[in-house]
Every structure is written in structure tokens, then in C-alpha cells.
Symmetry: C2
Subunit: 354 residues, 2 copies
Amino acid sequence: MHDRPPTLADVALRAGVSYATADRVVNGRGGVSDKTVRRVHAAVSALGYVRNVAAANLSQQRVYRFVAVLPEGSNAFFARMRDLFEVAAARMAADRVTLAVETVAAFDSDVLRARLDLLAGQGVDGIALVGSDDSSTVEVIATLRSKGIPVVTLVSDVPGSERAAYVGIDNVIAGGTVGRLMMLAHGGRSGRILPVVGALSARDHADRLQGLREVIGGDITLASVIEGRDRHDLVETHVAEALSADPSITAIYSAGAGNAGLIRVVEALPATTPRPIVILHELVAHSRRALEAGLIDIVIDQRPEEEVARVIDGLRQLADRREPVMTAVIVPTIYVRENLPPEHQHTNTGHPAR
Amino acid sequence: MHDRPPTLADVALRAGVSYATADRVVNGRGGVSDKTVRRVHAAVSALGYVRNVAAANLSQQRVYRFVAVLPEGSNAFFARMRDLFEVAAARMAADRVTLAVETVAAFDSDVLRARLDLLAGQGVDGIALVGSDDSSTVEVIATLRSKGIPVVTLVSDVPGSERAAYVGIDNVIAGGTVGRLMMLAHGGRSGRILPVVGALSARDHADRLQGLREVIGGDITLASVIEGRDRHDLVETHVAEALSADPSITAIYSAGAGNAGLIRVVEALPATTPRPIVILHELVAHSRRALEAGLIDIVIDQRPEEEVARVIDGLRQLADRREPVMTAVIVPTIYVRENLPPEHQHTNTGHPAR
DNA sequence: TTGTAGGCGTTATCAA
DNA sequence: TTGATAACGCCTACAA
């Protein structure tokens, strides 16, 4: 009735071999005769043996050491992500897995490279990093992989690289989603969307814009793109100018950061005319408040909570060399005022501590 | 540099007591003098000792036995959920946790009770079940809890009960979200929403309607509610009637199941007039296809994948008597045509196998 | 090519 | 009130 799961000892017994031989077969260590191999395999499937990962790790004193490398700086989104990693790290101590969160200067691939080389020498079992497009990053990932250290790209992929997996959204899909919502919100009427990005050269922003273009149609047009460099001051002035220059604008889509500036513009708009429809990315403190205040309509979010969970799960699987289950890309989630998740406790300010 | 995490032996050594004594203190087994207790606690925090769960479970030959009880029948949503549980169960074999998925006749609390009583006698470590409102269920949960078996309610809560946690969406929030989207889609114009539910007596459906009511305003009104008993044939005829009887209807919100019927009605609508805005619940085969075909606008989904993950994680934590982290309710997710997740492999048909 | 045995960190039993 | 120690299932060094 209450039979415990079979152990390797059970398998060995049934196959009529020693424990060590059964182990050699099961773990493919070689040096076993064909006849024996078959006997052991038969016993394994007859008994339904499944290796006990916990016991295995215990015997090896296996400690998982993972590192997440995030861009440093004052970005609210990555501050949130850092929080999430740290909370997760605390929860995992009892499972003998450590997760260190590091920050490197954003967009400086030399610094990143140096840091990763260092980590490679220190017995790290897996690394998660926010990808960037340059070839230098591709190389580092290849180097790490050759040393047996799997790399998972996070938020932004490094397509040509040997990363084991990408955890993040598809930005074309995200932009397309925004497009659909814009269509819906215009309800067949004509309209003009003002697109705001950090820079058109940024891959993710460009992808989002492309997704938007693919979906909008009918009487909806695009105004010329504003590049706000993800800085709220620049976003503020440029958007304010664009709105006063072109009264036909009915909607704003901000594909990048610096949205505090955009929100200030909307807030300052005269109450006489209906404000434009506003959709932007990432649920952070200021976008949440704007949504609650009715200043903006929709926030499209890449769910950092889910991303963090997947990164950790994925790294663990890779370190265990289990079948990599690694499910598909993250689905961008749509927040309106009514389905906001409960507010979390904020720890990292996003500003460098020192 | 590469120091392994401290073990209880390290703690004992530092506290100047035997291993067994340190164990007694750490696990609160009593029978230790105050002085000693303090010494051990001091050592624990000095060294930063964290109990190694894997080793503990190994020594106890701990095998987690969880059971998920789902309503049987031809509901596509629960078929999907069953799939998800089964996939998760397979993945967990190596971690010595078994998860059996059972189905009981929907809405028959006597059958449910009998099944649960049986399980209680069989050494189950935790149960997930889809709640229903009746007092009988409240009692069973209390009984299980008194036997030390934690219960997690899933999809539908049992508020007055002693369930350890609820994993599911807040249906008022879900309805409110729909309300907001309806407002957005009408863009200030007037409109009339046709609400479709399974039954007004169903708690979740009623909650969704309430959420909707709380948000809509302006020139948006509600037509009288259709009760379709979650049957696609009834939904089909009633919705068709309502639409032809009231041409002022601009939108349909289906808070329940039986949406295949609703979709057929929309499909058959004359192409002369713009079709109504349609929002419904749960991403399943037919709602996905309708979204892709442009027959409906939005699907609001409770993310069964995430629910299953949380149930398992929660049950495990409860069984381990760790701090129950159990995060808040699931946030209903909004799908449009563009952000559909990749289609999954379908296993359970939703129809009883025999 | 095959077998033996000690150790991983914890629990629990038996002694002192 | 305290201490010693045999499991638990697996890995691995060593022996045959």
C-alpha cells in the first residue's frame, strides 16, 4: 500500500548486480558490459526508478551558485527586478541555492565582460544577464558556455548567442498588443497616435513600434516619433511640444522609459478637451499612480515576477542537467486601473546606494 | 572563500553542546535548559545556520503526496487545468512529490466529502480543491485541517473556511477590469452591454457582474442579464434573441461558460452593421480561435498555469511548515488577438474518459 | 568489468 | 537534561 519509491539499491538487487554497477549504468559512466546494461535498464523500468535529486545533491554537497547581472542606474523597472531577485534569494537559502544580484554600468560591455570572466573562475553554476546587441556579449556567452556555465538572457535577448534560454517578452508582440488596444479604444473613429521611444536605435523600442505599425489601420495614423532618451525631462518637453503643435493627436504610446515626464504633461493638460488615450510600458510606482489617478489608460507589463521565477527555475534545471523545460516567451500583461496587483514593498530605490 | 553553508554540527560545536542538543533547540523539541537554549540560538545566528531541507526530507524518507480535486465534466477550462497538473506532476517525480489529480461530480458536495474523507485516511500531505459555497465543504475543510492536512482552495474560494490559502482571481476585480475595457472601447459614446452568466446564483458570476457595474458609467447601460446555465446551446438561443430584440446593444460580456454558443451567434451576425464588442472569460480552444478570427475582442483569463504553479508551491511550503509565503490573489490577465500565448498541446478532452 | 564502503546533513531512537 | 549513532539515497574513491 504505502510503498516508498524504489531506490537504486532496489534496482541493483533486481538486476542482480552491485549498487555501483547499477549506478554506472543509470548515470552513464561507462565501463559496463552490454548484457549488464540491459539487465539494469530492464530493472529500472520494471520498478519505475527515478533518481532522487535531493539525495544526489546532498551527497555531492552541491550548492547552486547563481548570479544575476542587472544594469545599474535609476531605472524603476530594474530596481523592482532586483527586489524580486533578492526576495527569491532569501527564500531559496533553505534549498541550498544562492543567488547573488550584481549591477554593472549599463551598456558598458567591457565592464560586463570583465565581471563575467571573473565569475567564470569562481565556480558559478549559472548566470542571468540582460542582453545587449553588441558582439562582445555574444563572445562572453560563448566563453561561459564552453566552460559549462549556462547563461540565460533576461528582458533583452542576444539572438545570435549560445544562451540556453531567453526569459522575456517578444517586443513585436507587445507593440502589436498596444496596436490592438489602440484600435479598440478608437472604436472605428479616426485618430493619430504619437509614438515615444528612448531611441530608435534600441532594438526593443524599435520592435515595439514595428508591432504597433503592423496592427493599426483604418483611419489611425502615426505622428512622427519622439526620441526621449528614456529621460523624463526630455520626454516631458518633447511630448508637450508635439501635443500643442498637432491638435489631431488622439493617443500616445510610450514604448520606452522616462514616463514620469509624459505623465506630467498629461496631468497639465487643459480639462476642456478629452485627454488623449495613453498606453505605456512597465508597472512601476509612477505608472501605477497615474493609472489609479485616471491619467493614463493602460500599462503593458512584462511581469518581472514571472520572469524572475522562470529564470531561477530555468537555471536550476540547467544546473541539474534535467530536460530543459523552459517554457516559451513571457506574455505581456495588460493592466488597467481595475486589475492592478496589490502594491509591493519597495526596497531598492533604483539609485546607486553609494 | 568557498565556504560551505554551516551545518547543525557547526552550530553544536560553536555552542559547546552535542549535535542532539542543538537539534532539540533548533526544532523546538523541548527538554533543554534555558541557558543551553540561549547558547544554541546565539550560535545559530552567529553562523547564519539554515536548515537543509533536502537532508531533512531524506532522513525522514519524506514523500509528498498531494491531491488536486477538480470538477469532472466537459468544461474546457478544467480540462486545461488538469493537463497542467499532470504535466507538473510528471516534472516533480524526481523531487519525491506526487500529485494525483482526481475528478468528482461537479456540485455534489456529498461525493466530494466522501472522497476527501477517504483521502484523509490515506496519508495525504495536502489537498487542492475547487471551492463551492455550501456549508458541507466548510466542514470537510475543517475536519481535514484538524487532521493536519492543509487545504488550498482553487479558482473558487470557500471564504468562511479554514483553508490555508486561496489561489485564484478576485472576481469583482475581473468584472471591474471588463468594465474599464468596455468604457475604453466605447470611447465616450453611449452603449448598452448585454451581460451573460451561467446563473446569478453562482457566486463568481455574480461577483463579476458586480465588478462590471461598479465601473461602468456615463452613457453606458446594462441590458437585462441572460442566464445561460453555462450551456452553449442555451447561450446561443438566448443571446441571439436578445440581440434581435434590442438593436441598441453595443457590447456583450459573458461572465460564465458556454461561450461556443455566443461565438456562433456573433459569427452569424450580418456583416452590414459593426458587430458588438465582445469580452469573455478563459482562454480555451474556442475562445482562442474566435479571438484569432476577430469574432471577439478580449478574453480575460485567470492564468491556470500560474494557478497550478502556485498551488504546488504553496502545498509544498505548507507541508514543510515553512513560513507560508503564499502571495496574493492572481491578477486576471487580458488577452487580445496579438498577445496570445503559444498554443499548448491538448491532452485531456474535457469529456469523461469512460 | 564489477564490487565495497564512507560520507553528505538531518531525524529519531536509545543510552546515560 | 544531554549525548551518541544508525538510518535515509546517492556519489565516489578504492579495491578486486
